[in-house]
Amino acid sequence: MPAMNMIQALNSAMDVMMTRDPNVLVFGEDVGYFGGVFRATEGLQKKHGLTRCFDAPIAEGGIVAAAIGMGAYGLRPVIEIQFADYIYPGYDQIVSEAARLRYRSAGDFTAPLTLRTPYGGGIFGGQTHSQSPEALFTHVAGIKTVVPSNPYDAKGLLIAAIEDDDPVIIFEPKRLYNGPFDGWHENPVSPWAKHPDSEVPEGHYTVPLGKAKVVREGNDLTVLAYGTMVHVAQAAAVHAGVDAEVIDLRTLIPIDIETVVASVKKTGRCVIVHEATRTSGFGAELSALVQEECFYHLEAPIARVTGWDTPYPHAFEWEYFPGPQRVADAMKRVMEG
């Protein structure tokens, strides 16, 4: 099995699906001849033809709208929004249209589109290339929200998303594209090739939507994480010397509540981590769910470690980013509670 980085895994997912299904096509800003600013669509146009992987005008609202129309026709479009920070011009089309079409037409029309978008910090992208806007989408009924944390899951989740009959947004942690990142930013960068989850089958497989994964078993506390923070949480557990169970949610909506509840009932403690700003972030929903489902098993208040409630600052990347030290501190607090 070849070792792939996350970009190669995503590319492979689209390649596999374009080969299997002539109704799958890919478009977005710079994705055609050039292969995307992060190279995720490299070679797809050359292999599958100009009309199956092509450049779109810089109009996120238009890109989403065109994909909705194509989905209504019967295609399975895969669109790239170049940075999650650029998604807002497409928000109306996502929220009012893609998410609602099945419901409002009682299933007469659907929008089975897949929207890929790089998100998150750790790359000195400043406030317009670092945001984590997932909660703006988890709040919307009718769309599924997915966040992979490694190459194997990225490919399997993307294939599952393309095959899914509902609109799916995949937030791709861009800091993880070329290698796992545990938040110790001064350490040398490590490539995916050394990580077991870079073993990616070349052909078709899926990672089911709505299923979390326990990536580190433990008994002291449960960490709920997704994307880059899955790796940060594991590093933090080592750093804190805490026997933490780390759950990679993988899909935010619909969330795998059973895996979350089973773990928190076992450990009795819960730390929630995400890069996004704290107030009304997805962690708030997670915290409420854990409280509703596990209140009598909790031995300490639930802790959240998140980005601060500020825009993403360029020069203060590592003060803003919820790194392993902050997560380890929260773990210790929760253990004392």
């Binding site: 096509l25 009309t51 779109a56 005008p57 109009a59 609202g61 238009g62 709208a65 065109a66 994909a67 909705i68 129309g69 194509m70 209504a72 026709y73 019967g74 295609l75 479009p77 011009p89 109306d92 089309q93 009012s96 249209e97 609602r100 079409l101 099945r102 419901y103 409002r104 037409s105 009682a106 299933g107 007469d108 029309f109 659907t110 009924a141 009718g142 599924k144 899914d164 009959d165 509902d166 709505g210 909506i253 619909p254 969330i255 509540i257």
Partner: protein, 413 residues
Amino acid sequence: MNAPLKNTVPLSLRVPEPRARPGDPIDFSGLVVAPAGAAPRPDINASAYAVRDLAFTLVRVLDEANVAVGPWNPKLSPAQMKRGLRTMVVTRAYDERMYRMQRQGKTSFYMKCTGEEAVASAQALALAEDDMCFPTYRQQALLIARGYPLVDMMNQIYSNAADPCKGRQLPVMYTSKAHGFFSISGNLGTQFSQAVGWAMASAYKGDSRIACAYIGEGSTAEGDFHSALTFASVYDAPVILNVVNNQWAISSFQGIAGGEESTFASRGIGYGIPALRVDGNDFLAVYAVTQWAADRARANLGPTLIEHFTYRAAPHSTSDDPGRYRPVNEADAWPLGDPVERLRDHLIASGEWSDDDHKALEKEAADLVRAAGKEAEAIGTLGQSRPSVKEMFEDVYKETPWHIRRQRQELGV
């Protein structure tokens, strides 16, 4: 080198206002109406620049004596014209009944298309049955022309147990894929760029079907309009882009959308999209330009923009009172007349129709609508009958996820 220009007067902000407000004399003096038959009919492969004058004039076929004249005369058979007239008359009868039903408290909301019936009625006749329309809420005539059951339209309006939208949608937000009628959204303009995506998909698949999109002149100010024209132009999408300029966006006259500075049709020129401005109350002219645009799309020549110049004789909706922002009788004074009367009079002038025929048609339409009304009301009007409350929780996703299932259980349904 020239010295910088100095202001000779203080800057001032212009806010456009219509010529007449309530109480003012009706004033259509700014409206330039080209004579019927004057506009040339170019070949379908003409460039946007070669046909640019058509974006500023008015393509008209029916002259003041209701005779069809000029190169745009589509030379429809009497049977086709009678079919079109019937669609318009049934649509008007349907609107009148449903408006009345709302006034009687039998539903929450209704929107008429009075005065604009020719747009959708003529286009339905000019398009193939399976071309996909992306309508606004004033193209109900498309459904009527394509034989969608009136009773199903009414069931939707009553949100009753037989509502095809299962009680989830505001009245008039119909959907019918089988009739080439895309689910209507209350978010203005969103369908315009979706239609372009549908058309791109049709071209991608080597299909023969085209898309037909609608937007009001007010909503051309939305970014979706710009996206739609950009994508349609870039990918040469087989789509007809219709701007229905009915002069009023609720209370805002077309000048608030920029209509005083240039025609809405002329927006197409900057995108290289051939654009026509048509007398929207002239059934034959609307048919002719639509056929021209459809021929272009089917010949892989790409999109066409059509501005239908018409007048919203009805209130915006049952929640609106136009007397608060425009002269009350403005609709009656509209210089381009009424679309039903104009086609009727053309048929009469051609010896194909009579006042008695027309009265019979109106009675037939009223009977048809009344019969459908009785049927729908027997199922129930708003609040008397509705789909199972379980339907509230269905179709959010293809398969209902646990959290929505649990909320349904919480409600106890």
